[in-house]
């Protein structure tokens, strides 16, 4: 908070030009010396002077010059103007963000003196200025770049000559051998074949060699045999599982988001599987990087040869594998935390640079400016998270292109034909309207409403109660949880299934389940109206209407505890017996439902009987069915001002033409001024710039006059432009096993979302004009994990079919100064009904009026001129073309459709049918709208400074463009020497236990320099020339003499190179956590090499507890390799963790290798280890051979070598002793188990030599 203050200071004062030299009059100077300097010295200088141990905020207050120059956030004062001086504001403690000194307010006298001093023009003796001339260390990018090795271009060298050519197997050996010779060292000999094959096997595939392979290589340890083993291992599917896991360490791979609830990161395992496939396929490294950074933007993505799914886009999931808070109080701070982590992983993994160190200031050591950080952050600001339909997205794109071509080819013709045929239905329009009016006028009015239950009886007399959620009686304001807020029910009693009446907490309240089922009743009114609140979990927290014991209608709450009215049209079941059911079948968040005020009602215009309509139709030679349709339509139009027949229907209801005219005129006037006072973010109704994008292909930006198609065919002509989903795509579904966001209301709309551009919030409410049913989501500052009341308003839905403004409260996010945004957002839309459309997005205070539903001009004219209903009816008939769009939506009132439209619709359907409906989903990035990031002074979200254009690091020449351009620059050795150096070094690290640059993730100044710099560049260049083949580079390294050396060091090497930097010999290494577990499975025979469809849940050890605890998994992990165990951030396998499996919080290129008692305890007492020993023993005990041979076989399996005679003797003795202790036969499986278990505990099992 301390730094914050200075920043705000600066923001306030940055634009002020400091006044000219201040007063030097003696009285002023005296005032300063007597009253002010002591304050500055006592209160400020410990942080704000040249003598400060650590200068805070870059601000010094030890000379006027320094104070006027100011700190990171600008001048500290404006002489003569206390009101504009941040210094005065800070000490006054008026501004909560800006309080100095931070530990407590100054005495009032001191504040007054400082204020007075500034008012007097800040007099200060001139002598001080020169004495303390500000000298801040300047950040010089070019100089830093020139001074550090890793920024320099790759250097091509000739492998040096050596004296002992026999010590060289590959060119790379020359670099090492030359140095050994310089130091007079002789390299260690080649390791024995069994050691070598074990080393190779663990390194390349993370598993011990089979007994037979080890024996064979021992017999024939030729170079040719060695190469064959290498090639076989490189080709094995287990290679990708092992090396892919190294990569996952970098990408901080996890399947949950950590924090309070450890929410699922849905479908993340597809990213893991992608990585494994990519390593197995030896995907060229440049392509791997391209796909990771911008796989969504590749013009020709790589497709999976087996199933045609999009591989490239899967790679981009890594961007979002980090932690994610579910309810941050400051979303902007949270966004920058997430982005900083993304850039940290990006920088370390691909470039070996700690770029995120420059979030708050220029990098302390490397050639990376603070602007560089924000320039890169802009690429993320221009993107957003999605779950991509990676199975079908390419097919969808193809179909969308074909649909577009079809539209160009034949849509206009089809629409013209349809309109011509539809207009034929208006031949006798006036007659129909008049007849309908007559038919309706004979109705005698509506029946009374029936209040079915308002619960004011205080009991459930009308209901059958099941479960505990609803308690014994309805709730009152006193019995519900106070945090539910204002319920807004009627009367005293209401139903609320969040039952905390016994003092339970929120979670317990949600956990209750139950059901209320009403007594049966007969449906005798058109509508059932009621109030509903609670969760929006379909089928789980809902109100159902049961007819014939089947659910025919269902409504849920809106994830709000405030009651909202709901109305069901139940005419379809009139006369039937029905029940209402109130269901709470959900136990998690929003696991509650409430209801009140259930009323059966008619409403609107009463409906005449069929006989009456038939009689009138017969008398006037009209078609009875069509007349009935007209009656029906006018009944609805009476309640729908947007219908062109609203005016006529109003007259039918008995209003005078004059009254209707007055109303329609005021409606028109209101429409004309509807948008006054709001700020338009995007207006899709008119042609013009209004940016948008989508996570699939289903949406279009439509114009007025566009044909609208639905499942049946041509549905209308658009009266205005809008963002619309083509309803053709409604068949798209997620695969049944797709995981959905834990906290996102279970929306399953991947590939069917549209979004606006990113915009700055300047008003307290967002208003979106939509038609139809659909969902709206405000992604505020990139925050998507919506749970918690603070973010509830970012999620909204429109459920009714009509046109309405959906308002969303964003009052916490308003930026007073749009050029320095505090919060930015975009809106996302997904359709719930086929006709959902988005017209206008605006922000303002109050909700705007209706700008599009204006009465048609001709209707106003007709109302003005019409002297009778008949005349009004005729005026409609006179203008059929004005009704075109409407006509097409009402085929029941118009003529039979023309075949051209049906043909066109069929052609559309044929194209759509080429797309498989179901797709798996995976996390991915998508390009949203191009938006730069704002540099934050000192990294503080409250103090934005200026926009920084998106570009690559300045040290590499910057360069704009999109993420794909960025990726291309990263992998081009002509632009950056780092990508190849970093990856080659990583390969070396995994094969030797230490990189040529030991700090594998940091090639900057704080990292360690390369021990063999020329060798590193030689390999990097070779790698680049070879197209970036990881397998071939690994092959090159493992074929070297250096790799094959024994671990036995020469005495001289220990003496002169104790750290073994020269690689005179090999260092033994402990196996990784995964390899240890996998080796036990392999040796025991339990290993199942089939990749599982999904991750295997880990076995929880009883000490793993807390929120988000997943379901328990099998002790043996279903025998699968460790890479397939689920990685839940808060619940990582404790066995793997003990052996240094990394916490997935940042890029980890080098795991720590610890040695802690927990490891030995696991080997001694963990059920998994015992279980594997037992399973191994089962096979050994079943072997009929002599015990000696079986013991030998066990040593071969565990250590890839035969048992020595001492070992065999010891083992036999152990078997005997154990048998005696257990009172069992020496060949009993339980006896062998104990021997097997000791071999797992032997340290040799843990180490690779």
């Amino acid at each position: 908070m301390r730094s914050l203050l200075l920043i705000v200071l600066a923001a306030l004062a940055a634009d002020e030009v400091p006044a000219a030299a201040s007063s030097q009059d003696p009285a002023g100077i005296e005032f300063f010396e007597k009253n002010v300097r002591p304050i500055l010295v006592d209160r400020c200088h410990s942080c704000h002077s040249a003598t400060a141990a650590k200068l805070k905020g870059g601000l010094r207050l030890d000379s006027l010059e320094a104070a006027l120059k100011g700190g990171d956030s600008g001048p500290a004062l404006v002489p003569g103007q206390p009101d504009k001086s941040p210094l005065v504001e800070a000490v006054s403690y008026r501004n909560v963000e800006l309080k100095m000194p931070p530990k407590g307010r100054l005495p009032a006298k001191e504040i007054a003196d400082l204020t007075e001093w500034v008012r007097r023009g800040a007099p200060w003796p001139k002598a001080d200025a020169s004495a303390s001339a500000a000298r801040r260390a300047e950040f010089n990018l070019e100089q830093r770049k020139a001074e550090h090795w890793s920024w320099k271009p790759l250097r091509n060298t000739e492998p040096p000559a050596v004296r002992d050519a026999a010590a060289v197997r590959r060119p790379l050996d020359r670099y090492l051998q030359a140095k050994l010779e310089q130091r007079g060292l002789t390299p260690a000999p080649t390791a024995d074949p069994r050691t070598l094959i074990r080393r190779l096997s663990f390194d390349l595939v993370g598993l011990p060699p089979s007994t037979s392979d080890a024996d064979a290589f021992d017999k024939d340890p030729s170079d040719a045999a060695y190469e064959r083993i290498v090639d076989r291992l490189l080709a094995s599917p287990q290679f990708g599982e092992t090396w892919g896991r190294h990569w996952l360490d970098l990408m901080r791979y996890a399947e949950t988001r950590g924090h309070e609830y450890d929410y699922l990161l849905p479908n993340a395992h597809y990213y893991r599987d992608y990585v494994i496939r990519a390593f197995n396929a030896d995907l060229p490294y440049p392509q791997l990087v391209l796909e990771h950074v911008a796989g969504d933007l590749l013009p020709e993505p790589r497709l999976n040869p087996a199933d045609g799914s999009n591989e490239s886009v899967l790679a981009t999931g890594w961007w979002y594998l980090g932690e994610w808070l579910h309810s941050p109080v400051d979303t902007r701070v949270d966004e920058m935390d997430r982005v900083s982590n993304q850039i940290e992983v990006f920088g370390k993994s691909f470039l070996g640079l700690t770029i995120s160190c420059a979030r708050c200031h220029d990098h302390k050591f490397d050639a990376i400016s603070q602007k560089d950080f924000y320039a890169l952050a802009g690429f993320l600001k221009s993107s957003n998270y999605r779950q991509v339909r990676f199975d079908t997205i390419e097919a969808e794109k193809g179909a969308a292109r074909e649909l577009e071509a079809l539209r160009d080819r034949s849509e206009a013709t089809a629409v013209d034909a349809a309109l011509r045929s539809a207009r034929r239905g208006l031949d006798r329009l006036a007659d129909y309207l008049e007849a309908a009016r007559d038919a309706m006028s004979v109705c005698t009015g509506c029946a009374d409403d029936i209040v079915f239950d308002d619960f004011e009886s205080g009991n459930y007399a009308n209901w059958t109660v099941e479960g505990t959620a609803f308690g014994a009686a309805p709730q009152t304001a006193e019995t519900v949880a106070t945090y539910q807020g204002k319920i807004g029910a009627t009367g005293k009693y209401f139903v609320n299934s969040h039952n905390v009446r016994k003092g339970e907490d929120m979670a317990a309240g949600d956990r209750h389940t139950g059901r209320l089922t009403s007594n049966p009743f007969r449906i005798e009114r058109d509508h059932i109206a009621f109030l509903v609140d609670g969760g929006a979990i379909e089928g789980k927290t809902c109100i159902n209407l049961l007819v014939d014991r089947r659910v025919v209608l269902s409504a849920t709450g809106r994830n709000s505890n405030a009651m909202a009215p709901q109305r069901w049209d139940v005419r379809a079941w009139r006369g039937k017996e029905a029940r209402i059911e109130v269901v709470d079948d959900a136990t998690g968040g929003w696991g509650n439902i409430g209801i009140d005020e259930i009323v059966f009602t008619d409403g609107g215009i009463p409906s005449p009987g069929r006989e009456k309509i038939a009689a009138i139709a017969d008398a006037r030679k009209l078609d009875a069915a069509r007349l009935a349709a007209w009656v029906e339509h006018l009944r609805r139009a009476g309640a729908d001002p947007s219908d062109p027949f609203h005016a006529f229907a109003s007259v039918v209801k008995g209003e005078t033409a004059a009254a209707v005219l007055a109303r329609e005129r005021s409606r028109e006037a209101a429409a004309a001024h509807a948008l006054d006072g709001v700020e338009i973010i995007a207006d899709y109704t008119k042609p013009g710039p209004a940016e948008w994008s989508q996570d699939g292909v289903t949406w279009r930006r439509g114009n007025s006059g566009d044909a609208l198609w639905d499942a049946k065919g041509l549905a209308g002509v658009a009266p205005y432009g809008a963002l619309r989903e083509d309803p053709l795509w409604q068949f798209l579904r997620s695969a049944p096993k797709a995981q959905v966001e834990s906290s996102h209301r279970g929306w399953d709309d991947s590939g069917r979302r549209a979004r606006t551009a990113t915009f700055t919030i300047t008003k307290p409410t967002l208003h979106t004009l939509v038609r139809g049913a659909g969902r709206l989501f405000v992604e505020m500052d990139g925050h998507r994990q919506i749970n918690g009341p603070l973010h509830a308003s970012t999620v909204a839905a429109s459920k009714d079919p009509g046109l309405r403004w959906v308002s969303q409260n964003v009052r916490y996010y308003v930026s007073p100064e749009p050029a320095k945004p505090l919060h930015r957002a975009h809106l996302e839309f997904s359709p719930d009904s086929p006709d959902f459309e988005v017209l206008i997005v605006a922000q303002g205070d109050a909700a705007p009026g209706n700008p599009v539903d204006r009465p048609p001009r001709f209707v106003l004219d007709a109302l003005r001129e019409a002297t009778s209903p008949r005349a009004l009816a005729e005026s409609y008939q006179a203008r059929p073309s004005e009704l075109d769009g409407w006509l097409l939506r009402h085929p029941e009132l118009a003529g039979p459709p023309a075949p051209e439209a049906a043909d066109h619709a069929a052609a559309r359907a044929r194209i759509a049918a080429t797309v498989k409906p179901e797709s798996r989903l995976a996390p991915a990035i998508m390009a949203g709208s191009a938006s730069d990031e704002v540099l934050l002074i000192r990294g503080n979200a409250a103090t934005p400074k200026e926009f920084v254009p998106r570009r690559f690091l300045e040290a590499f020449g910057g360069g704009g463009g999109d993420r794909l351009d960025l990726a291309r620059r990263m992998i081009d050795p002509a632009v950056t020497p780092l990508a190849q150096r970093v990856i080659v070094n990583r390969l070396w690290h995994h094969l030797f236990g230490r990189g040529l640059v030991p700090t594998v993730d940091d090639f900057g100044k704080m990292g360690l320099p390369p021990e063999h710099g020329e060798l590193l560049d030689f390999l990097a260049l070779e790698f680049a020339r070879d197209g970036g083949s990881i397998k071939r580079m690994i092959r090159e390294i493992v074929l070297s003499a250096a790799y094959r050396r024994s671990t036995v060091a020469s005495a001289m090497a220990i003496e002169t190179d104790p750290g073994n930097a020269l690689l005179q010999h090999r260092d033994p290494r402990r196996v990784t956590a995964e390899a240890l577990r996998d080796a036990m499975l392999a040796v025991s025979g339990r290993l199942d090499l089939t990749p599982p469809e999904r991750s295997i849940p880990i076995h929880l050890d009883g000490f793993q507890d807390g929120r988000g605890r997943p379901g328990d998994g099998p002790v043996d992990g279903a025998g699968r390799r460790s890479v397939y165990l689920a990685v839940h951030r808060n619940f990582i396998s404790s066995m793997l963790l003990a052996f240094d499996f990394p916490q997935p919080f940042s890029a980890i290129g080098r795991r720590s290798v610890s040695n802690v008692p927990a490891q030995s305890l696991i080997l001694r007492n963990n059920p998994f280890v015992h279980e594997q020993a037992a399973s191994w023993a089962k096979r050994v005990a079943a072997d009929p051979g002599p015990a000696r041979e079986r013991i030998d076989g066990m040593f071969r399996a565990a250590f890839a070598r035969p048992a020595t005679s001492d070992e065999t003797a010891g083992a036999l003795q152990l078997l005997q002793d154990v048998a005696a202790m257990k009172g069992l036969d020496a060949n009993h499986v339980d006896v062998w188990k104990e021997l097997a278990h000791t071999l797992f505990q032997a340290k040799e099992f843990l180490f690779i030599r």
Binding site: T482, G503, R1069, F1131, A1158, N1165
Partner: protein, 476 residues
């Protein structure tokens, strides 16, 4: 490490030398050195060990999960009584955004505040027993946090950073100072049943070696994962271990293994010792009945009895040289941690009852045994609560000013430091930031927080990031 190790020193690397030193001559504790980063990575920066004379040897961190209310415990604010029921915006002024966004009216403290002890510090009746020890306490009424959401605030309190993956306070302390007991970890979390929001990462070692992560002990048997043998008899387990050792001995005799292998062998022996020692730590058979009932082991309230066990175990661990012991709160049937968004009265009473007697007993017992002066007790939640209501009878999170207290280990006794405004809402005097608290704790342990660093990702990382000042005013 400039110990004289004779010719061994010539031939072995730094790691092996450290190992020799520790077993043979003391120095850094055992658990600390096994995990030393490999010597090839050069100097990891920073200085481990004490930098000056320590005031405390051990820390007991009584973590008050969920955020107790300062205005209902130690920070007496009569203005709340006076303005009870009024709109906070009208009487308090600017109200910050809260997690639940459901702010009600100004709410008085439902309990009576009294001056207690010779110091006359205010304590509410929520803590009758702790109130009885008030003269041992150094109450800090001006604590702040940067986060008003549990997870980030918990990480911040525990690790000095609001995100996952950083080393916990206890990890830093045991990394810096090692443990005085070679058979127990240096950082132990006694889990009463409530894992803090944010999970085990609150106790993690982050980028420090894994050996410094908090070992989770239950106040039950077995206290630690994988501690209990699965063999039917200990003789059998012993016989097997003998064979394992003989195999290791044979392997050690073949050339080509280095000191890592040696360390693993010793680690195996250490784990054997731990299997014996850890259960003994939890064994109360030698404790007197008076001690047991002082702590409340016989309490009818199961939460009190659980916390009593934790506190007594904590004392026994201090006696055995465990460096840093954190206690999580006991689970209370049917109620939440100190996180009363509603039902403040019942929730706070339940939580207070669970910890009040055991904590007071811990203070008295340590004092009686002469251990309090070298043991720093820290009582803290991740934030405080709002002086105005959430809904009708709850309080929302408040990071702008809340109370923590310390006792023993070199802090002033019967002392209060800092002030919040007259509402108990925001700090107005002697503000403490989280890094200041951490710096002060390290200082009391004889550690300069700026010198205890580890290089990671191109930076010298510390518990206090780039902040933190020792609060000298509270040092005794």
């Amino acid at each position: 490490m400039a110990h004289e190790c004779g010719r061994v020193r010539e031939a072995l690397t730094r790691r092996a030398m450290l190992a020799q030193t520790a077993t043979g001559f003391g120095g850094l504790a055992l658990s600390a050195l096994f995990a030393d980063p490999k010597s090839a990575f050069g100097d990891q920066g920073g200085q481990r060990g004490v930098h000056f004379a320590p005031r405390a040897r051990n820390v007991i961190f009584l973590y008050m999960d969920g955020g107790p209310s300062q205005v209902d415990t130690f920070d007496y604010k009569p203005m709340l009584e006076k303005h009870h029921g009024r709109n906070p915006q009208q009487v308090i002024g600017r109200v910050e955004k809260t997690q639940f966004d459901n702010n009600g009216t100004v709410m008085r403290c439902p309990w009576t505040f009294r001056r207690r002890g010779e110091s006359g510090l205010w304590v509410s009746d929520l803590f009758p027993n702790i109130g009885g020890c008030i003269d041992e306490l150094c109450v800090v009424r001006s604590m702040t946090s940067n986060f008003s959401e549990h997870t980030a605030a918990n990480y911040f309190l525990h690790t000095g950073n609001g995100s996952q993956g950083r080393p916990s306070m206890g990890a830093w302390v045991s990394y810096g100072l090692g443990s005085d007991n070679q058979n127990l970890p240096g950082f132990i979390v006694l889990n009463g049943g409530l894992i803090p929001v944010g999970g085990l990462d609150n106790f993690n070692s982050g980028f420090l070696p894994a050996s410094y992560q908090g070992s989770l002990f239950r106040p039950a048997d077995p206290p630690v994962a994988n501690l209990r043998r699965l063999e039917s008899t200990s003789a059998l387990q012993k016989r097997k271990a003998e064979f394992v050792k003989s195999l290791d001995g044979l392997a050690r005799a073949t050339p080509g293994y280095d000191e890592q292998f040696e360390s693993a062998i010793r680690n195996y022996e250490l784990s054997e010792n731990m299997e014996a020692v850890a259960p003994e730590t939890m064994d109360f058979s030698k404790e007197s009945d008076a001690t047991k009932s002082l702590y409340g082991l016989d309490s009818k309230d199961p939460a009190t009895a659980t916390y009593a066990r934790q506190c007594l175990i904590a004392r026994r661990m201090v006696e055995r040289g465990v460096r840093f012991i954190e206690l999580t709160c006991p689970a209370i049937q049917g109620h939440d941690r100190w996180d009363q968004h509603g039902g403040l009265r019942k929730g706070h009473e339940d939580n207070a009852r669970a910890v009040d007697q055991p904590i007071a007993a811990l203070i008295r017992d340590l004092r009686a045994r002469g251990l309090l002066d070298e043991t720093l007790i820290l009582w803290a939640g991740e934030f405080g609560r709002t002086p105005f209501a959430q809904g009708a009878d709850g309080r929302d999170h408040n990071p702008y000013g809340f109370t923590v207290w310390m006792a023993g280990g070199g802090v002033k006794r019967g002392h209060a430091h800092g002030e919040t405004d007259e509402w108990g809402y925001k700090v107005v005097k002697d503000k403490l930031e989280m890094h200041d608290l951490h710096a002060t704790i390290l200082h009391l342990l004889g550690v300069d927080h700026k010198r205890l660093t580890l290089r990671f990702g191109g930076r010298d990382m510390r518990l206090t990031d780039v902040h933190g000042e020792v609060v000298r005013e509270i040092l005794a």
